[in-house]
Every structure is written in C-alpha cells, then in structure tokens.
C-alpha cells in the first residue's frame, strides 16, 4: 500500500484521482491493440508491435508514479504474452521497452514525466527505427549474394525479401533464388514467390522434402538465408518450423547458413535444446484414426553452431555477437 500513498502525493498537482488510473488501464485492451497494430502495418514485426502497443497503453494511463506505471506495464506485458501461443518474439519487445524505460529513468535522474512525454511524442520512432533497421540489414547483407549465386530461403521474412530486393537492385538478374514452399501456407508462399519474381529474380519453388536433394547437387545452392522470429542469447534462432532442418542439411553439405535479423529481435532467452522452447508447443499428436491436428504457427530452434553469420543492421556478425549486445543492454544474461 506504500505505492498508493506515494501516488496520492504525486497526484496532488495533477488533479487525477488514483481510482481512475486503475479503471483506465484496466479498460485498455492491450491484446486487441497489439493485433490491430500488427494487422494495420505489414511492416511491423512482433517485438515492435508489442512496443507500440505498450506506448499506446502509456497514452491511456495518466501520469502517476514511476512504480505504479512500471507495474501497469508489467501487468499488461504479461497479459499480452499470455494471450499468444508463442510469446517469445513479443517478449523481446516488451523486455526491451522495460529496459529502455529503466535506463532513461536513470539518465533523466528519475524524472518519469520527462521520459513519458518523450516516449509519447516519439511513439512512431520505434516503428520507424525498425523499418530503418530492416533496410540496414539489407545494406549489410546484400553483397553476400554474389553474382551467379543461388540463394535458398524459406518463410516470409521481410528482412530476407528486403535483402534480396536490395541485391536485385545492384545485381539484377545475376543471382537466383530457390524458395522452399510451406505446404500449410500456400497463399503466403505464392505471395513471396510472386514478390521475388516481380523483382526480376529467377525463382524456383521446391518443397521441404526436396531441400537435401537440391543442396547435395553440387553448386546448386551457394547459401541459405533465412529470417528469424527471435535471436536467442546464445546466437541461435527461433524461426519458422523447418529452419533447423534446413540448417542441418546446409551444414552437412557445407553450405553457409545466414540469418537476416534486426537487433531488436535479440532476446535474453536462453534455449538449451529443442525440448524447451520457452513455451508449450506439442508437435506430436498421436492418433489411431482421423488426422493429426496441425499447429498454427510452429517454430523450431536452430542452435548457434549451425549458423554461419547473423546479418544485422550493425553489420554481419558471428552468433556470439548477440550475448555481447544483451550484456550491453541488460547488464545480465537472463532474467
């Protein structure tokens, strides 16, 4: 109850009643905001959408004490995480946001109002920076797509298509793409392939079962570039189901496996192996009759030792770069 007292003191000049604080933030539907943000802007990634949703939340919460607001943010972050099947990508965003608030508070000598005002005024900045970061990834990585090379990719990562688009601008028609189709998402696969062909990149579509064959045919694939939902602390990635498989196949054929991802996807999460992804995902559905259920958004974990390099907006880095960044931002490794 100490916070209530403190907030009462703080609130005196602002004429806001503490009771309203509670009702307002409770009314705010963070989950709906998050999803509408994701829908409204196809350029938004999950961590950035989560950050924007939290900023929108700050908008509705009247200025109160620091701790109360931090509590509200925390509660809503938890609610948001609980609402989705795989909370890891957006957790990267909420963690980053929390850390940002904390560190700006330190810089501003605890003047919470200044931080809040700054955040509200620059709400779009996060999204804007995220788009810039994606362009940065393309800039950092496009030279890897050398003339005459063939890039194998799968999924619908905007970083990857951005990178390929950038490469196509400088080397039109000089490289090819092998796209691994997702049999569960024919529409998405059609869209990505369409985009690539539109860019003037000769694109071949294969299914996941053909990857090993294509890779083993000498010089058919020069590199793999995939996107990531989250880059874990150890430098591994959580990504669309199938990435791990492709990474393993690439390793056994000695094909470099690159990951294009912005640094805001770096997460403090540390995965030991496939078993613990940090959330529940039951892939196996044993039945005697009927067909097994299919997961909506299955992901897998590709360990860092299968990843050649991470292509980030800060340059092309080794997987161990992630932990340095995490230590820089958070000061500790996890939790």
């Amino acid at each position: 109850m100490a916070t209530a007292e403190a907030s009462a003191k703080e609130l005196a000049p602002t004429t806001e009643l503490p009771i309203r604080t509670g009702s307002d933030s409770a009314d705010f539907d963070i989950v709906a905001t998050y999803h509408s943000l994701l829908k409204s802007d196809p350029d938004l990634t999950k961590p950035v959408a989560a950050i924007n949703a939290l900023i929108a939340l700050l908008n509705t919460v009247p200025s109160t004490t620091v701790y109360e607001t931090l509590d509200i943010i925390k509660a809503h972050s938890e609610r948001l995480k609980a609402s989705v099947e795989n909370p890891i990508p957006l957790a990267a965003g909420t963690d980053l946001f929390n850390q940002y608030i904390m560190s700006s508070l330190k810089q501003q000598d605890g003047s919470f109002d200044a931080v809040r005002q700054h955040l509200l005024r620059n709400g779009r900045l996060f999204a804007q920076r995220a788009v810039e970061a994606r362009n940065g990834v393309a800039e950092a990585g496009w030279r890897y797509v050398t003339e005459g090379s063939t890039v194998l990719t799968h999924g619908a990562s905007r970083s990857v298509t951005g990178l390929l688009a950038r490469a196509a601008r400088s080397r039109p028609g000089k490289f090819k793409v092998v796209y691994v189709r997702d049999e569960w998402r024919p529409k998405e696969s059609d869209r990505v392939v369409g985009e690539l062909r539109q860019l003037g990149i000769p694109t071949a579509e294969i299914d996941l079962a053909t990857v090993a064959h294509v890779m083993a045919s000498l010089r058919r694939v020069s590199m793999v570039i995939v996107g990531a939902e989250v880059v874990t602390q150890s430098g591994g990635i959580i990504s669309r189901m199938g990435s791990y498989q492709i990474a393993k196949l690439a390793r056994s054929s000695n094909i470099p496996f690159y990951v294009a991802g912005e640094t805001h996807k770096f997460s403090r999460i540390f995965l030991h192996d496939q078993n613990k992804l940090g959330f529940k995902q039951s892939v196996l559905d044993f039945r005697l009759e009927g067909s097994s259920s299919h997961l909506e958004n299955p992901v897998d974990f590709t360990p860092p030792d299968l990843i050649s390099q991470l292509i980030t907006e800060n340059g092309v880095k080794l997987p161990s770069y992630v932990v340095e960044q995490i230590l820089d931002i958070y000061g500790s490794l996890n939790g």
Binding site: Q233, S234, D273, P304, V323, L327, L333, N334, G335
Partner: protein, 455 residues
C-alpha cells in the same frame, strides 16, 4: 587425455608419508575461525604444536640451514619473492600472472629441487620423476612450517598446510579460505611509522603470504583474480586514512566480495541449475562438487523426480560420500566407480552436470581430470553438457589442451608415472555454462569477462 605418463628416472614418492598425517585434520572453515591458534588444529603434524613464540625461536635457530634450503627450493620453483610479487600485482605482464605461469619460468631447473623440498628431511638427491616436457607443470608440496618465511601469518600457515594436503581442494573453497585468512592478516597488521598502509602492506606483508601459499600449492585462477582485486583495493586506500579505518574498510570490502562473488553466486547457480532439471530426467555427474550437489538437492527439494548417475573419480573417491548424501535426500543414484563403460552409462542420460575449476576465455573448461572424457562422449551422443562455474573462476587466458595449465597430483607421483589433476574441455563439447549471471554458451565467456571488467 594424457593424464598418466611414464617416466624413466627413479624417484621416491616424497609426498606420501607427510600427507597422511594431515589429511585427517579438521574442516578448513573452523580452522580459519580460530586461525590464530593453528598449533591446536595441527596437532597430528608434530611441528604444529609449537606456539608462535617457540616457533620463532626455533626458526631463528634453524635460520641458516633453513634459509639455504628454502632458497634452493624457491629458486628452483621459479617463484622467489620477486617473481611472485607479480602474481597479483595487477597482472599486466605475462610473467607475474598467478600460479602456473610463475612455474613455467622455472621449468628447466624445476623438478630437481621439487622433490627435495617436499621432503626436506631427506637430504639425498632425488632424481626427477617428471620428464622434462612436463617440467612446466607444478605440484602442491608440503612445506614444513618452520621453513616458511617468518612474516607468514599463522592463519595463512595453516591454510597453506590445508592446501598442500588437499584438505581444501576446489577453487572456490580455496578462494574463500584465502580471503578469510587475509582478513586475519589485515586485522593483525599495524603500519610501521614513516610509511602508509597502502604502500607498505602489499609489498611487505601481503606478498610473503601469497608466496607461501603459492609454494604450498599453485594458486588457482580464482585466487589470482581475487588477489589482483584485493591489491587494487589496497592501492586505492587514501594514504591519510587512519589504520583502523583502512583495515575496517578493507575487511568490509572483502566480506562484500565473498558475499557477491561466492555466496550469492553459488546460490544463483544452484538455483538456475536446479531449474534446468526436469521430471523423469537422468542427470549424470562426475565425482563431487559442492555446486552440483547443491543443485541436485535443490531440484529434489522442488519435488522433481529425477535419477542421478554418478561417475566417480577412480583416483579420488570423493563421489562415495556425494552419492550417499544424494541417496539420503531421496534421489535414486547409480554409482559408477570409474570411467569404464562410459558410453553405456551415458545411454539413458538426458543431461550431464559438471562443475568447472576455471573457464578460459576461449570457452574451454578447466575441470577435474576425466571431465573432458565425459563431455566428449556425451556430446557425441547428443547429450547436453552443462558446466557450473562462478565468474570469479573465469580467466582471460586461453587454453586448447590439458597440458598448458595443469597440476601434478603429488600423491601419484612415483618413479614410474604421474597423474595430472585437471583436464581442459574445449568449448564445442560444452552446451551451456551456468554462472551467476545466467545461462550462457561457452563462446560467451569473453563477453562476460569484458562485462566483469566494467563492473
């Protein structure tokens, strides 16, 4: 792993008789508490009975003889006080760096005097048991208390005896004990007139203690780190600060250091490791380490149902007690006496939990000899290998083999062979290291080291 090697030259096993005397000594921690009366605790080893005054007298009488002998021993060990001073001095130069390095300098003349010093009573010339190529490796030696430098504090004297007999063996216990002993040293120190604490203490009081400890057993990496830290703290003390205040300040910061880097660190590591263990898992561990034991017990307390396969160190049966403790806590334990049939023992294992003596900055793990064999076999079978280690054990040095840094087991040094105490596991055989900062992959060690430097 080359842990056993044959040697040609005949030699006596100089350690055996002396060591047995002290091995039944009481537990280290109590000793430090009453560190001022080492004589009492040391009863079994005859010399220790002497009180401080008597000892001094006796030391005086034997001065000439002792000096000659000690000098020879020290010089041959490559650790005369000059060299040792560098041991913690900030460690800028390669030479002065803690422990093993110091030995490396004196490798050529090293083994001639080593056995002689270990058994000083036997005047006859002992031929080296360790071949030249292993000459850089050092070994714990029993140093007669009367042989020690007169400046060595009683608390440190006892500590040295414990270290040389491996009553205190793992890196963290030794670190803790050393810092407590140094607190005693600081406490009993008075700055002589005409000098100041920060200028006099390190060179005239602290360094002899460090030399003595290093002579008893080569320093471990954590001790090197802590001593470097301590010397930095001492040098930071304001010269105008009165003695009493300075001593109080220093003792407080030592307490804080132990609290943060050892007590809290162990707590966090044990917790994190316990979280890792899941129901129905089989955890394999090697020999005994208090961190692993703590983690397993904690997981058991949390109500997790798991099984432990304990592989013991065939040369040092520390796992017997360990397995009894675990079994008493209700954890099903399979005890395996040695590394034989390693692969079949690993078959059902889900995770290998080991503790590291130190981590090198290339991600390699320095741990009890035999750890590497287990890690390699486990990795080969796709089992994750988790290493527990406090960050105080991290060293900025690099090692890719088990021979650059190591120690010879003084109890298994005979004319036909010897054993090394540690081995180095390369980073690719380790999946995760758990430190007080959290889980990390071994490649994160340099990043963590850099972070620690900032703190």
């Amino acid at each position: 792993m080359a842990t056993e090697a044959n040697t040609s030259a005949p030699a006596e096993p100089p350690q055996a008789p002396a060591t047995q005397n002290t091995q039944k000594e009481t537990q280290p921690k109590d000793q430090k508490a009453k560190g001022e009366q080492p004589a009492k605790d040391g009863e079994p080893a005859g010399e220790k009975k002497l009180s401080g005054a008597e000892k001094k007298k006796m030391a005086k009488e034997e001065k000439a003889a002792r000096r000659a002998q000690a000098k020879a021993a020290q010089a041959s060990q490559g650790q005369p006080s000059g060299g040792q001073e560098g041991a913690g001095d900030g460690g800028k130069g390669g030479k002065g760096r803690p422990k093993q390095d110091g030995q490396a300098g004196g490798q050529h003349k090293g083994h001639h005097a080593k056995p002689a010093a270990a058994a000083p009573v036997v005047p006859k010339e002992v031929k080296p048991a360790v071949p030249e190529c292993f000459g850089h490796l050092s070994m714990a030696r029993r140093i007669n208390i009367t042989q020690a430098d007169k400046d060595v504090d009683p608390a440190v004297l006892v500590l040295g005896q414990h270290m040389s007999t491996f009553a205190l063996s793992d890196s963290i216990t030794r670190l803790e004990a050393t810092l407590y002993a140094f607190k005693k040293v600081i406490d009993s120190y008075t700055t002589p007139i005409g000098t100041t604490f920060s200028r006099h203490f390190t060179s005239h009081v602290l360094n002899p203690q460090i030399d003595y400890l290093t002579a008893c057993r080569p320093m471990c990496f954590s001790m090197g780190n802590a001593i470097r830290w301590l010397k930095l703290q001492i040098s930071k003390i304001d010269i105008d600060l009165p003695d009493l205040e300075a001593k109080k300040l220093l003792c407080e910061s030592i307490d804080n250091f132990i609290h943060e880097r050892v007590t809290l660190a162990d707590f966090v590591i044990a917790n994190t490791a316990a979280e890792l263990i899941e129901d129905d898992q089989v955890v394999l561990t090697y020999a005994h380490h208090h961190l692993v034991q703590r983690a397993l017990l904690q997981a058991q307390e949390q109500g997790k149902q798991f099984r432990v396969v304990l592989i013991d160190d065939a040369f040092e049966r520390v796992g017997v007690e360990h397995s009894k403790t675990l079994a008493a806590a209700g954890i099903p334990v399979t005890y395996v006496s040695d590394l034989g049939a390693l692969r079949s023992n690993l078959r059902d294992v889900s995770v290998v939990l080991v503790a590291a003596e130190a981590m090198f900055s290339n991600g390699a793990m320095y741990a009890r000899s035999g750890t590497c064999d287990i890690a390699m076999a486990a990795k080969d079978l796709g089992i994750q290998v988790v290493a527990l280690c406090e960050t105080i054990n991290f060293t900025e040095r690099v090692s890719i083999d088990s021979l650059t840094y190591n120690e010879i087991d003084p109890e298994r040094l005979s004319d036909v062979g010897f054993r090394l105490l540690f081995d180095t596991t390369r980073d690719r055989y380790i999946s995760t290291i758990i430190t007080e900062l959290g889980n990390a992959s071994p490649t994160a060690v340099p990043a963590i080291l850099r972070k620690l430097e900032e703190l």
